[in-house]
């Protein structure tokens, strides 16, 4: 597999764009219930703190701070774009699907209908050492979602 299949253009774009980045600059919408989770990968020092706001059963806002490799930062950015506006149940489904693809060692293909830009991380599944990088913000998100809903 070539490097470009791992570092897809979408991933490189998102690693620079970092949608949703800037916890302290955003305030959760009034009346929303929020959850926040900090995750650390001690192997490489990747770190993400992600806050998720839910109101009326929908994800109203995702906001995060983090430091890490391009895969981990892009994955947080993609997640933020994808999750906003989803119902809590929909988001659980998306997170489960993403996890299944990433843990499959390349056997399970991503469904672009369901995962959108996150489907670009399919290639990461073949690099066992990088799966955690792609997952870290999603693990934080799942934890935050459980707190908020």
């Amino acid at each position: 597999m070539s490097l470009d299949q791992l570092y897809q253009q979408i991933i490189l774009d998102h690693s620079k764009a970092r949608h949703g980045s800037g916890l302290s600059q955003t305030e959760a919408p009034e009346g929303a219930s929020t959850g926040q989770s900090h995750q650390l990968n001690p192997v490489c020092g990747d770190e993400v703190t992600l806050r998720l706001a839910v109101s009326d059963g929908k994800v109203a806002q995702v906001s995060w701070d983090g430091a890490g490799c391009s895969i981990s930062m892009a994955s947080a950015s993609v997640f933020s774009e994808l999750a906003e506006g989803m119902t809590v149940d929909e988001l659980h489904g998306v997170i489960d699907s993403f996890r299944e693809v990433l843990r499959s060692r390349g056997k399970v293909h991503a469904d672009p209908e369901l995962l959108g830009d996150a489907a670009a991380f399919e290639g990461v599944a073949r690099y066992a050492a990088r799966v955690k990088c792609a997952m870290i913000s999603w693990v934080a998100a799942e934890d935050a979602l459980n707190q908020a809903s």
Binding site: S2, L3, Y7, S15, K16, C44, D46, S70
Partner: protein
Amino acid sequence: MAVVSTPATLERAVPVMDNAEVLRIRNDFPVLNQLVNGQPLVYLDSGATSQNPLSVIEAEQEFYEQRNAAVHRGAHHLAVEATEAFEDARQTVADFIGADYAETVWTSNATEGLNLVSYALSNAALWAAQGRGDAGLKDLALQPGDEIVVTEMEHHANLIPWQELAFRTGATLRYLPVDDAGRLDLEHAAGIIGSRTRLLAFTHASNVLGTINPVRELVALGRAAGALVVLDACQSAPHMPLDVKALDVDFAVFSGHKMLAPTGIGVLYGKQELLDILPPFLTGGSMITTVTMERAEYLPAPQRFEAGTQRISQAVALAAAANYLTETGLDRIHRWEAELGQRMVTGLEALPGIRVLGPGAGQERIGLAAFDVEGVHAHDVGQFLDSKGIAVRVGHHCAQPLHRRLGLTATTRASAYLYNTTDDVDRFLDAVSGVRDYFRA
């Protein structure tokens, strides 16, 4: 005709290593001869673990084919053969570092060696408090008010065992800071190492900065304070001549897997008079004289610290590795690697957006270089290099406090050994020059 064997004449007599010799050396290392991602492997991660030459692999295989048995137990032929091989290996490795046979203790790795010293010392406090063992244990026991001194550049293996020793004994842990260039300031050190210092532990060569620490000066400070001195020789024993007696350290540790031997074997050197009175760390079979249901008496070193069935084939293999290094010449290896280290730093410094940790080009360093790439995380750098068949290490290299001191969380490290050519370094540099473009930094 008078032959005067000054170091200078010796230096001229010994030819320096060159690429032609390294290419011959590489033939001894089967693992290096392979393609990774379609390109010939460039292995620049020997600081983490090194590769084994055929003579080492064969020594281990020969042991299993011809002599495998438990040592120091049983009177049968194989047991005698195995014991002989095991103890001969100890003598070989003792000679390799200028130690005596009984001062050379087998461990699993350097980490275990350091923990052994840490626990033996806190056990000394327990024994001394109850009047058990040698009267001299009193002087080794740490207590509140005493200080343990390490440096800010230590590998976690030479930091955490001392944090825990401080916790167990009530002693205080202090450290010698590093400056921005990654060096210890000796004047500063003289203000920290003092009458309260009971133990001074530091690395001979830094696995991140590549600096070689001033061992003699530090030992002198430790001696003046009456402290025990522990040397982490993980990055020196495999790469340069090491004489623990000449350096006058009390303890020294290193790992076999970083010096052409398999994993699972390491060495603790300790001065005989210390090893013979220190309480054991692990207890059980093979390290006792008399055992009753209530208590046991222990053998002197080295068996005192080798409880249970030992790593026999690994010890034999480590001796083969020591022989391989001795035959090649550690002085020559050291000079060759220093040249590769300079080539790395000079090349890296010439690239925009690269910050090399530790001493700059032209200053002494061992054959490794850790660096930060502006705008690109070390994990991505490592992945990019891997796609070109180049193996490096990424992360904090088990030195989080040092990285924090330098304002970083993760770096990329290339580390060379006697089987690396200047071509390896050039391929590495060429690849690094493309990293920032690829990641649009």
